[in-house]
Amino acid sequence: MFDMSHQVWDNMPEFGLVYLPWSFDRGGGGGGGGGNPFDAMNFLLSDDRPYGGNWSASSGIITIYESSAEAFFTSCRLIQNSSTWGITPAGSFGTALVNYHDALILQNAVASVSPYGFTFQEDPSLNALKQYLAIVAGESLSIEGEAQGIGSVIMNRLKFVCASILDENFVSKIGGEGQYDAIGDVIYNDVMGDSWEDIFSPGYKYASRISGASTALLSDKDYSYGAYFWNGTYQYFTQCIGFNWNEYNKGTFIITQSIGGTTFFKYKDPNKHWP
């Protein structure tokens, strides 16, 4: 049922690995959270999805295996208590790993059990992850396939420049904020301002976009079919069509595919990728 044989430590960070570092501080002070140290863990899990794995209070390593991408994302909901996992009796745990296919989510959930409860502070790279989700949500329509395609374009660009969304300034490595008109817009700001609980809630207002962005991030599949650019499809039918369609008309770009209202492009020259 679950791939328990996969050794999650075999593939330590390369491109495609995703880190979700969290650090916990004891009691009071800023940050949300509270409850038990598994709050962060439960952010990635729910108690109504099949998952497998093991954890060790002594080593502090938690390894979780999901059965499918869908299960993984359905499970991305924060629940305050997980009877499945229980509450650690004492001590601390260091690193938690969530493994799905070739994607890893490494969670530095350093926590100490305390009767005073816990607060957590998000690592800056977690903000970068949120920014990635916000960009894709803002750039796509409410069609999961479009979001997947746009997410894959960002992944392709990152791969090309050997960067990852874990970099706080990953946007600057793939063209800068000016490349992404969505930055600063309503949807982008919504996602950036919303809690992780909201963002991964099944009823989230941008759920299909977030789901598309997430699958593009974690899946091996390139939903854009090798694209490095995208554009609204309908603009091709206007006469003022912008950079991407201009390049297509000049023969520099070819279309990899169209999804919903978005068309994806890559250079016709197979040796040229991006920019």
Partner: protein
């Protein structure tokens, strides 16, 4: 966190401009009070549904105009000459591309009319160059004769029959393939040397008003409908 619908009542006679921040939530509404072309006081509700990239103007439950792929308001909503709602909307462009749309709405006889609907800016974010730009800077009125000013000139006159601004007539003949910006659906229309009011912008794009709908003429024998219908 649940977002609540926020309702703002804006009186156009006192405040003729709606702050962007007042309509910047994912689902917000405002109500504008203005005059119809017949000088009747009317109210128009504007809903911005960022979740669905949709801007809806509603005069009553049976009279609505929808604008699709609307992502944000690039400028505050204004009311020109107390009778025209001016919308400058950021629509979805693409990677490295920013696109703005300029829309004017007026009311006549309990109907909403889209007097102008053009792409006003296409900017290449890659190199900062601008593919096309039309600066709509105002509207003049003299005895109910309106002129829309673009790029510093009185560019478009008001066609009181169709309730639209235009600056020419476009002749269509033969078979045209027609797409819709709403769903990219395709159909065909046949014309027989027919002339329609049109807007020519910077000699780069021709917007044609055909049977109460705006189309942009793109490639040869190809029209793109700028949809207003909400259904």
């Amino acid at each position: 966190m649940k977002k609540f619908l926020t309702l703002f009542i804006i009186n156009a006679f006192v405040f003729n401009q709606v702050s962007l921040s007042q309509l910047s939530q994912s689902k917000d509404s405002i109500i504008l009070h203005l005059l119809s072309l017949e000088d009747k006081e009317v109210s128009v509700k504007i809903d911005f549904d960022g979740r669905n990239d949709e801007l809806v103007l509603e005069l009553n439950t049976n009279e609505k105009i929808c604008i699709f792929e609307a992502r944000y308001l690039s400028q505050d909503i204004k009311i020109l000459s107390q009778r025209f709602i001016e919308l400058q909307i950021g629509v979805r462009g693409g990677s490295g591309v920013s696109v703005h749309r300029y829309v004017l709405i007026c009311i006549s006889g309990d109907k909403l009319y889209k007097s102008v609907d053009v792409i006003s800016l296409v900017k290449n974010l890659v190199d900062g160059s601008i593919d096309c730009q039309v600066d709509f800077t105002g509207l003049t009125e003299k005895n109910k004769s309106f002129e829309l000013i673009a790029n510093g000139e009185k560019a478009f006159h008001f066609d009181s029959e169709n309730k639209i601004f235009c600056n020419g007539l476009e002749n269509l003949n033969g078979l045209y393939y027609v797409n819709s910006d709403k769903d990219l659906s395709s159909k065909q229309l046949n014309f027989n040397n027919e002339k329609f009011p049109s807007i020519c912008v910077n000699q780069t794009a021709i917007y044609i008003f055909i049977k109460h709908k705006w189309y942009v003429e793109s490639h040869e024998n190809h029209l793109m409908e700028l949809t207003s219908c909400c259904n």
